[in-house]
């Protein structure tokens, strides 16, 4: 692969639409076409109810689009797959397992033996600084810690693509900022392809290489632009003029 070639496509949505059936049919998405490139950190930004969770679920393989199609690495998405790690918006840490057992779960599913599982999980847990809580149950963790465990639980299986649905939505501002730093740090170590959904413009700017803005329901792509802020991004970056200029761009796009 020469320098001139465009980075390969990992995820592709072509004219995807989704309508929820029910007493009143609601159209969540309307002809969305989106390309996600290898090692790209893409943030999908939009107001509440614009269909971004629906889009992520479709990419994750849990919903089948009513129109259009979604492909991963060239083949049509038929269901969930190990190459697409998915962190839900809701609380999905398994409360009946310890932190370690949670992180090991994906490896257990793959048939990895106990020793190897232990080594990987220990390392992952160390990365987020929760070694003290390795044998604790989720009920002893705060919301932020819980979510980070979910993130490394997915990372432990080393998926090529990460789908994150507003993982830090339920956290307070300080914790959220800290978790964003953690995530950025983790991403720096192994450049995975990330599709990150959020309604927070600042979060999108801080973390992403590229931002796609969705319109309110039914969701359509309103804007798509690169974020060329230097990495690694620090606290100062949040206050730089380039950051503010981009933020203004986003707000205008959000309308």
């Amino acid at each position: 692969m020469t320098a001139g070639d465009p980075p390969r496509l990992r995820l592709q949505a072509v004219d995807v639409g989704y309508t929820y059936s029910g007493r009143t049919a609601t159209q969540a998405l309307e002809t969305i076409s989106l390309d996600v490139h290898d090692s790209e950190f893409l943030a999908v930004l939009g107001p509440v109810g614009c269909g971004k969770t629906t889009l992520l679920r479709i990419f994750a393989g849990f919903l089948r689009p009513t129109t259009g199609s979604v492909a991963c690495d060239g083949s049509v998405v038929e269901g969930p797959g190990r190459e697409r790690g998915y962190v839900l918006q809701e609380d999905a840490i398994f409360p009946w397992m310890t932190v370690r057992e949670n992180v090991e779960f994906g490896l257990l599913a793959r048939g990895v033996d106990a020793a190897a599982r232990g080594a990987t999980s220990r390392e992952m847990i160390r990365l987020i600084g929760l070694s003290r809580f390795e044998e604790a149950y989720p009920k002893e963790l705060s919301a932020g810690m819980s979510k980070m465990v979910e993130v490394v639980r997915v990372l432990a299986t080393d998926p090529a693509i990460l789908l994150l649905d507003e993982p830090f939505g339920a956290l307070d501002a300080q914790t959220r900022a800290r978790m964003q730093d953690e995530l950025a740090r983790l991403w720096e170590r192994r450049r995975k392809t990330v599709l990150f959904v959020t309604h927070d413009a600042e979060e999108a700017l801080y973390l992403a290489d590229r931002i796609v803005v969705l319109s309110p329901r039914p969701g359509r792509v309103k804007a798509d632009f690169r974020v060329d802020l230097p990495r690694p991004r620090s606290l100062e970056a949040r206050f730089s003029p380039a950051f503010s200029a981009l933020k203004r761009q986003i707000w205008e796009a959000l309308g």
Partner: protein, 289 residues
């Protein structure tokens, strides 16, 4: 905190004590006919006789003068004639309850999990379930008897049926409502169905199922006693109703003292089993937030 629980214990105990004392007073005062409100003494006597298992001494003239009625020992007499004791009957009924639970719980949980897991199975099976559970289990007893003759089957089958029917709904809701999110997360992590069910669905639905289990225990006791009252020559139901063959059952006048003993024993046994189930639930759901 301590004052609340001690207050609870004290008041509860006081209430219990008051109940027992009041009963003893009222019943011994001779205000009611002994057939209706058996004197506490008779209850105690019946209890001892049924536990020890020996025949009561024959009624003598002096007994009758004292107001001790002869017919009240007919019931006990019939029972003792058949070798029935209180603890024996309790054990037999308890055994039936345990067998019924052992068979009914997996059946009900399996069905509930299946219906909660697969929309398709739910659509097909749910209406059938609703139809079947509307049939009171004990109504089946004579029908089963025609098929399988007079044996344990027609007593156990209603119990298994009742227990299974009771557990379907909690298992169903546990899987559908609780486990949903966890299943999505687990599937993205690559879990195959077998691992999914063992390590995700069942634990997630566990608390709901355990709650249902407690209710099923109470239902199992009720059905067991009912079945015994109808068609059994042993067990607590039989003890309460008076022994003898079922044809003559409605004729035998039950001794209220024996009935009281039976009720108290059943309440105690039911309470004990529930306490066990409660303890097990607490132990198994320590992780719940």
């Amino acid at each position: 905190m301590k004052s609340v629980s001690t207050q609870r214990l004290v008041l509860g105990f006081a209430s219990l004590l008051a109940m027992v004392l009041a009963y003893a007073l009222v019943s011994n005062a001779g205000l009611f006919r002994p057939e209706v409100v058996p004197p506490a003494r008779e209850i105690a006597v019946a209890f001892t006789e049924l536990v020890v298992g020996t025949r009561p001494p024959p009624v003598t003239e002096s007994d009758v003068h004292k107001g001790h009625h002869g017919h009240s020992s007919d019931h006990v007499g019939t029972l003792l004639q058949q070798g029935v004791t209180l603890q024996g009957s309790l054990a037999i009924t308890g055994a039936r309850v345990l067998i019924g639970l052992a068979a009914g719980v997996p059946l009900g949980v399996l069905l509930g999990v299946l219906m909660g897991w697969s929309r398709r199975a739910d659509d097909y099976l749910h209406p059938i379930y609703v139809l079947l559970r509307s049939v009171p289990p004990l109504a089946l007893i004579t029908y089963v008897m025609l098929w399988l003759g007079h044996g344990e089957a027609h007593r156990l089958i209603p119990i298994v049926y009742a227990v299974a029917a009771t557990l379907v709904i909690p298992a169903y809701h546990g899987v559908r409502d609780v486990a949903g999110t966890y299943v999505v997360a687990a599937r993205s992590l690559g879990a195959r169905p077998w691992l999914l069910i063992r390590k995700v669905v069942l634990p997630a639905a566990g608390p709901a199922i355990l709650d249902g289990l407690r209710y099923a225990v109470a239902i199992a006791w009720m059905t067991a006693v009912g079945a015994e009252m109808l068609m059994s020559e042993n067990g607590m139901g039989n003890l309460i109703v008076g022994g003898g063959l079922w044809a003559s059952r409605t004729q035998t006048k039950a001794d209220p003292a024996v009935v009281m003993v039976g009720i108290v024993a059943l309440a105690a046994a039911g309470w004990a089993m529930d306490a066990l189930a409660r303890a097990a639930t607490v132990r198994l759901t320590r992780w719940v937030r």
